[in-house]
Symmetry: C2
């Protein structure tokens, strides 16, 4: 669904009013039949032969995905990757505002990056409570990642995006997503290997 | 499979000789039955009641995934994210060496980041050929990403990892993986929304 949302947002920017399942399929590298099946789960969005109304479908998806509001994010670990995310221009316009950033390095604490003042990680629990933080992004070093994740869970955070190259443990009611470029690369080498031996 | 590989590598570092499907399940947040089913596709790795031999399973997965060799990677777009990846210590030990980096900014070209001298993107085709580049990582701005991807495809690259927040188009024989933190965040807000309304 997030992929649909991304493509439809782009279509809206291009001032498209309607879009066919063929066009959606082309942009999402899926078959038109898959598109129609996926979207039928969420009610009758399209009319036979007329395509989908872009802004209506986008509005429905926004509601379904909980994107009709802004989500407050705390980032923990302000190294190069953390800084890249703090400076990344695509989060706020797409509904995710990094409202707080934390580190353990006294040299970093108090500095301002991407409009956010870096705080001592000891202030995490208070800040999560006072500023209504919804989501944690973990960009701490691998050796500290599980500890940071445990800390976010204790603070009541229910959604965590982790950049640490490890399968972290979280309670059942917490959603954890991981971004590990090596996993993405390894998922392609099987294909490369087959090409090489063919 | 890459997730299995990551967990097994960690177990090997911990000097574990055998591992049960229970333990693997715990670490991968899957049921032991799923683990046994997954691994049975790839032959008889485990003995009933004895668990899996860690180094043997790791060796087989290494071969299956094509990780018994080093892969050469070219990175295109040396902004903050590109620099973070060039400095990221987890790529080389896990089999992916960034052998070349490219940018269009004359201010960047010639500078050295993470042991790699940044080249003019005009040299991409030659470098891919001469240095046997296997994989491209695209960290160029969104507006230039599709053009960079087209360029990599023209150079014969068959595996691309893109950080651009768009669904890029590639020919059928090219594998494309995308890392977009917003998609990962949006995949969790549905869950948060449901928690909020319960």
């Amino acid at each position: 669904m997030p992929s649909y949302f991304r493509v439809l947002s782009l279509l809206e920017e291009e001032n498209a009013e309607v879009v066919s399942s063929q066009e959606l399929g082309k942009r999402l590298q899926m078959t038109p039949a898959q598109i129609r099946k996926d979207l039928s789960y969420f009610g009758k969005f399209g009319k036979q032969g007329k395509g989908y109304n872009v802004s209506k479908l986008l509005g429905e998806l926004r509601q379904i995905l909980g994107l009709d509001r802004e989500w407050s994010v705390a980032l923990i670990g302000v190294g190069r990757l953390g800084r890249a995310l703090l400076d990344y221009g695509e989060l706020t316009p797409r509904g995710f505002k990094i409202a707080a950033a934390f580190d353990i390095d006294p040299q970093q604490i108090g500095k301002k990056v991407g409009g956010v003042v870096i705080q001592d990680v000891a202030e995490l629990a208070n800040t999560v409570k006072n500023r209504g933080i919804d989501i944690g992004i973990v960009t701490a070093p691998p050796s500290q990642a599980q500890q940071v994740i445990d800390c976010l869970v204790e603070c009541g955070i229910k959604a965590i995006l982790s950049y640490a190259p490890l399968t972290a443990r979280v309670p059942k009611d917490v959603r954890l997503r991981e971004i590990d470029p090596v996993l993405a690369l390894q998922a392609m080498t099987y294909h490369l290997k087959c090409l090489g031996s063919s």
